[in-house]
Symmetry: C2
């Protein structure tokens, strides 16, 4: 179908060796032949077969993403699409393929081992790290390069990561509400075994503490970040004896449920009840186009995907690199969902 190296070199009257070297930038090729080769390659649309190339050089030119999917009920991370879109752009630009493995929960370790063993990928990206996550020592152990989207908190040897500053984001979100006069501020969070959620709670607590407000366990909730759960947990708090006057919510999707609950109780968001969310800037769920609907700490997960991918590529192409870290900050943008506490 397509032209291969042998045919291309035949057309040029050169050996495969020379053509290969010219294409791959080896020095022992004269500039003139290099140009000729490049032109011919372009004209005939020559593309090296990645399998053959991979076989020869022992690399895959592919990067793995493992997505968990525990049975039909398990929720797919809603940020997945945007994250992938960001990462994918970086990969194709750098000449890598992206291979996805969906794996049922328990098999994740086995999957990594298999990916490594078969040489199917040159590296993987790890998503949704837990506060202490066994996958990280595992990957370090089997020697498969990786970058984490997020962090762990325990003392494993250093590793590459990209993360948003979740602590600071939620500290500032909470402080924003305190500055508006709120004292009873609820937190509707994701599972706090996951580091991002853990850090968000820490930021929240830190802010309360700095303001001399005692945290109330009845105002803290953590679970899946779905609309439904946001709705229920919010409703429950609103109906309690001492309802909160403000909410800090970990995701746009939970927040939709929170809004539904607030309005369902005949209250108005931004007036009766304030809400600040974290906004991953999902493309299909934007926080308003002109004025933000929700006051939010915003950080594009798509950009994060791109950063993760670039970092991993650097890691693969130079394994001796020192550990790389990137802490993205999430700026607080004022939207319509937060206002002064009522007297």
């Amino acid at each position: 179908m397509t032209i291969n190296l042998k045919e291309l070199s035949a057309k040029l009257g050169l050996s495969q060796t020379t053509v290969s070297r010219a294409l791959n930038g080896y020095p022992e090729v004269s500039q003139s032949t290099r140009d000729r080769v490049a032109q011919a390659a372009a004209r005939y649309g020559y593309r090296p077969n990645p399998r053959a190339k991979g076989l020869a050089v022992g690399r895959a030119f592919a990067i793995g993403h493992v997505i968990q999917s525990d049975g039909p009920t398990e929720i797919v991370n809603p940020i997945f699409g945007d994250f992938i879109a960001g990462a994918g752009a970086a990969y194709s630009q750098a000449g890598y393929e992206m291979v996805l493995s969906v794996v049922s929960d328990g098999d994740e370790a086995a999957t990594y081992k298999a990916l490594k063993a078969r040489g199917a990928v040159d590296g993987v990206v790890l998503s949704g790290p837990l506060v202490t996550d066994p996958r990280i020592p595992l990957l370090q152990d089997i020697g498969l390069p990786f970058v984490v989207h997020g962090q762990t908190l325990d003392q494993v040897p250093d590793y590459d990561w990209v993360d948003v500053d979740n602590f600071e984001a939620f500290r500032s979100a909470t402080t924003h509400l305190i500055d508006l006069g709120h004292r009873r501020i609820a937190l509707i969070n994701g599972h706090e075994t996951m580091t991002f959620a853990h850090l968000r709670r820490e930021g929240y607590l830190h802010s309360l503490e700095a303001a001399g407000i005692a945290p109330d366990p009845a105002l803290m909730f953590s679970s899946d970040m779905t609309e439904e759960i946001g709705f229920r947990s919010c409703l429950k708090m609103l109906d309690a004896d001492q309802p909160p006057t403000a909410f800090v919510v970990s995701s746009m999707i939970s927040a939709l449920g929170v809004r539904r609950a607030i309005e369902g109780r005949g209250l108005t968001m931004g007036r009766d009840i304030s809400v600040v969310i974290h906004d991953d800037a999902l493309s299909y769920l934007q926080n308003g186009s002109d004025r933000p609907i929700f006051t939010a700490t915003r950080s594009s997960v798509r950009d994060a995907g791109r950063e993760v991918a670039d970092m991993l590529i650097r890691r693969i192409e130079d394994p001796t690199l020192p550990p790389q870290h990137l802490l993205l900050s999430a700026a607080l943008v004022q939207g319509g969902s937060s206002g002064p506490a009522l007297a």
Copy 2:
């Protein structure tokens, strides 16, 4: 790292040929040898290198998904994650890898050609088909097996597809509202260049016509299916001279905006205004867990992903198969968002 065929056959005192044949189920191997080989393979954890295998047999054991992403603003399809999760399960079960290509809009044709040319994949799945979609003749032309998630409406040669019965879904959704006494029923749809949206409108129109209701262009809207756009289009209709009393909405996400608009005007969904949506059963955006929030025509996009993948694998493994079609039906489930029209 891992054991390879040569080493395995050395350990067994057999030739690579025999071991390969034993493993691949060729007949010219005695049962006893076959068993010995199988056991040894299991014990040493032998896994054939897919690159080498692919090189030898000219297949990739991989399936491509192409996702469009036109610049940083373009929205990623929110159903993407669930669809992929469904498909991925089928692939891994059948021993295929899933490779994703993120591609900017114009390059899609080039991407398919490149995938085919490099033999990077054995087939691709096509998403979001247009009413008349050039990608289909293109793929037929270059001879890359494919399955479409959705359909086109023009007369290209037959091809494999999996789709939900969009016409019937929206016909029944609209009829449901008519039966409740509604006469002014709005449609908030996706882009009608896309077949699914086109068919939904047809179903909607068919139902109106059957009830002798003249369609009103002011009540039909089609655009991106985002929360924001759902909100705005709904608001505009509600504020018009003759507002609708009911909405049929193409996606859960638009519907969130529709709900926001309705409640923003001090109306109550299910009482003042009825809403029926199409629910893709996204895992992170479920339509209530016990009683559905929205009355909806429901069809799991995750199941669709699985069906698409299975169909494509069948196609790849037997190219002579006659065209395969699967029309999934979307049942109407009654939820809290629809009720009798007010007098």
